[in-house]
Amino acid sequence: MTESREMMASAYFDVPEALLVIRRNAAGARELFLAILPGGQVTAFNGHVDLGTGIRTALAQIVAEELDIPFERVTMVLGTTTAVPDQGPTIASETIQIAAKPLRLAAATARRHLLQMAGALHALEPAVLMIENGVIRPRGESNWELDFDELISGRNEEIEIDPAAPVKAVGEYRLVGKGQKRNDIAAKATGTWSYVHDVRVPGMLHGRVVRPPYTGFDSGDFVGRSLISVDEASIAHIPGIVSVVVDGDFIGIVATREEFAAQAARELKTRWHALPDFQDLSEPEEPLRQNRSKPRLLRDQGDVERALAGASPLMERTYVWPYQMHASIGPSCAVADWKPDELVVWSGTQNPYPMRRDLALLLGMPESSIVVERLEAAGCYGRNCADDVTADAALLSRAVGRPVRVQLTREQEHAWEPKGAAQVIDVRGGLDLEGGPAGYEFDTRYPSNLSPTLALILTGRVPNTPDVAEMGDRTAIPPYAFGNMRVTVHDMPPIARASWFRGVSAMPNSFAHESFIDELAAAAGVDPVEYRLRYLTDSRAADLVRAVTEKAEWKPRTRPETEGAEGDLLYGRGFAYAVYVHGKFPGVPAAWSAWVADVAVNKKTGEIAVTKITVGQDSGLMINPDGVKHQIHGNVIQSLSRVLKEKVSFDGLKVESVEWGGYPIMTFPEVPDIDVLMLPRPNEEPLGVGESASVPSAAAIVNAVYDATGLRFRELPLTPDRILKALREQRGELLAGSAAAIPKKRSWWKLPLALAGIAGAVAGGITLASPVRGAFAPIPRPDPGVFSAATIEKGRLVAAAAGCNVCHVGADGTAFSGGHGFETPFGRVYSTNISPDLVHGIGNWSYPAFERAMRQGVARDGRHLYPVHPYTSFAGADEADLQALYAYLMSQAPSVAVPPENTLKAPFNIRGLLAGWNVLYLDPQPFKVDETKTASWNRGAYLVETLGHCSACHTDRNMLGAEKQGSAHLAGGYADGWVAPAINGAGASPVGWTRAALFDYLRTGHSADHGSAGGPMAGVVKSLSALPDEDIAAMSEYLASRGDAVSGEEAAKQREAKLVAADAAKGRALEISPAGARIFEGACVSCHESASPLAGLALNTNVSSGRPDNVINAILGGMHAPAVLTAQASAADLEIMSMPGFAESLSDRQIADLAAYVRARFAPDEAPWEGMKEAVSKARAAVAGH
């Protein structure tokens, strides 16, 4: 159990020995900042928390420095409300700049006090004493020393922070300003650090939430008021469900195990009011312009209108920033333990005290009854769902009266985190007669607020009308001395749920400032760095700009395309500078940052490779320079990712990007070289470094792309399709020209209508002709003892060859209990219970009744069975095999399962019609041995054609649902939503089937040249695993003989050619489906670009198939590695893998895009599939119905 309760501040006041440093808050209550404890241990308290930036280490350095003790002796307590002072939310790079100040003073106060005490003991002035490594002694030679223990022993003393206490001079620092290894990484690298995700409390249950369909929106009339009903019966089949909690639009499920809660959350059926139509925020410019707003003038100096009237050229530019997300790598998690008089939550919140107020409001409890235990969570760069999930856990714990852990899903974290808001910035400016900036009019729109805790809105505790927060003004004032300038922020409420994200509005605002000044410089014919320096009045900024450009060996330039080109690559360099101004306007500057970016733009594909970033920063005094460097690296990589790749896509009132395919971020191969320059400013105030280096990113990159190509981009992200389109326009190429090269399109849905394995008669004449079949009398269940063991064993193999359990297995895995639904054009048919239960199964069937059912499709009581049951194949079965099968089935455990009723449309629901059908299509001939062939071939033929009933799926069916004859036999069919490819040699698999490949596939469910068995075939292979190798070899021999099986050498040649073609098709596929390429890169490459033969796609028959069904099914429902394969001893070296289903993670549009990419890349010679979105939606409906 990992139960983590921080020692309360009040307990420190009661320990027998301590020196405590406190501060009284406005209400006069004691807030603890520092505790010097026996053994020289020091515990220090801070209201801010570590979001992964290493602030825990930097704060400990500050304390150790002021007290002159070893770093290792300091333990930091961060965020927990019973222990630390309320210092507000951890935001805006304020921890070192603001929140650390009282802590430093507390340490300084303690230091002075200790020296005074030591001085009093030895009758010396404190000024002649010093502390070194936690030991107090006189300066110079001395014969005594004492440690802190001797001073604190025997009493608990409290002193108050003295703002006038002398702090150490920078020159005396020995820890601050030096690189310090972090105090958490060793534990994190060995799995012994407790994140909030790792908290376990005795008696803890597991919760999941079900969020409303308006994913990622928290304002509007419908919010909190859309739920119609919750069908608890829909999860009645899942074990361990403790409670379903509903409050307004809030739904949560509590279960005994995490996987039960997860399954229940997926399967719970809920009904919601229809959502209103909504604008598409994927293209945010118009929605932001239309959003109600209030102008707030930030700066108006000179005469902008007059200056612009005389500007030449006059430049009016619009910059568009997309919605982006924090995208924490771990979805938020929390544990809550509610009791009537106290709530304890374990939370990764960055706002412990503000969140406590929200919890008090949500639960109607006093704040003083709520304890927030703060633990680290996955990195958060603004706001994620940490507070939301804490509130969720509190609601669920209160409902069940036990501790509950709630883990959000990846999809929920992506969808519901408060987004980094989109932003639209209009700039008007131009050059005066001397080439200087004539005037500068800047208007910025930023729809965001503080994002109320979600549960408060979903339950209706707070109104669903959004507040407006004034946060669009960060770095809105340009850093340049523009004489005539007007800067306005248009404050507006959020549209999608949005809140601050690293760099807040400063990052987009600087994108505009720094792009625009680059354009001014270009128009003026002046080097962009030189141009900036002319108007940069801040000397520290100018120093930084000079230092960075010098380090990067910047060469002045007055036109683009001076860095040259090589092959398809165009090289360019760009510069940008910014100071991040945070907090309420006019705000406080954090560290200064400047970038030189080197890029290579591929003119054929539009891909931008960022090859090197030279980044400089003036951070003032750096507490931990290693930590500062780490933050700079992090900011560079994250902001590059945002600029190059990131944009949230929406589908009406839904966030569509809910996993890493829909929202790809930077990966290792894309990471550039980063050269960091940190200006030494030890005598200046320490500045926040958590965000600054992100701010110049976008402009540096677009300026570099301009330098490479002469093209200016004013909208992000800089995805290859955006770049390529502009390059082509620049080259005067017609965009539509490429379409001609796409192979001729074939419409897969126009292929002959394939009917699933069900037949019904539509002609009335057949009805009239139907004979009435009699019933066999019921018998008592045969005693299994009458069958010999050898017969039962033979029957087991027959059942395996016939794959009885592929269809008749119960949903819970119980053999032969039935209930599997088959979607057919005529309605839905369920497999029956064929266990020997007297009432629900076939326990009262005599052998003759059984044999008739097998060969003629008539049940014991005379009812006709639907030919989903492949009696047309079984008709030819060997008598002894059927007898053995009967014996085997009768020896099985009875099951009382009752399959659901068939839901067939009239007239197919009239079973009697099948009699006429049988007259037409049932050939009751026994299997005929071909004397000209080997015994093995004949054995294979028997297994394939009778017991194995391969044709039931692999043969197309006619309008009446009967298998077609002649050349159509085994030439491919369609069953249960899956394409069953041709197995007669006529199939268009990328590599021809060899006998060996057939054997591998049937034996292991996988062939390196063809892929893995999925859908119903996976079950068939599993079933066949009971058969000896000779039988599988016989089937392979027979199947190979039916078509043009290729030789091993031919197959190898085909394989090589396909792999080369797939590799070559990469660029083309990117062009055909750029959105699909992004999803593939984010969601699929972890397996599908690995060397693993299990996941290769270029040789996969399904990707080359005329119909996309199997590919869509695999994406929606996932694929399991063939169990037979992984179970083999020889497979120990094989990487085990399974493909998860993406039904809840990718939209129809996304799956269509992805499948289009997969087709273009891995089956480049085949025509694109068409009508994909509809096909996906159809397949999704079929999956949901199962």
Binding site: K188, G330, M1139
Partner: protein
Amino acid sequence: MKPQSIHLTVNGKSHELDLSPDTPLLYVLRNDLCLNGPKFGCGLGECGACAVLVNGKTVRSCSISVAAAEGRQIVTLEGLGTVEAPHPVQKAFVEQQAAQCGYCLNGMIMAVAGLINRNPDPTEANIREALKAHLCRCGTHMEILAAARRAVELMREARLDETRLVEIPVEKSRREEAL
């Protein structure tokens, strides 16, 4: 699916569990065996936070079932080494301070360990490729790459040490013989 008896070998220890065989391995490692190294990141095999070694290969434990892992050697972050006695890959990550929030760290270490198992002398491109589908949002890539390079060196040294350990007794016995 109905619970059944599952036998797992994790970090060298045997565990008998009664579970539905399709339970994701990650939930079993975390909730039943209380191993906190592997982290839940996406449940889709995309991010790598849940990686473990199965028979020495890096596998995403969120997307394989506990049944698929049966009969194989599973090693989690905890099974590699401890703070006091870290595995060379862990040691390299600590040395290079290759974490910000550290949530992805498990996957990075497991990916590097798996890489070195199959390729003891990877190139820079091999390293980046092996880490391609392991996501880090804090932007710790520079430090992680440095750690991976360092891990390759430390593993090489460790292999040399092992060779030496083998050689010493041989020399000793020869010495004994000679005497």
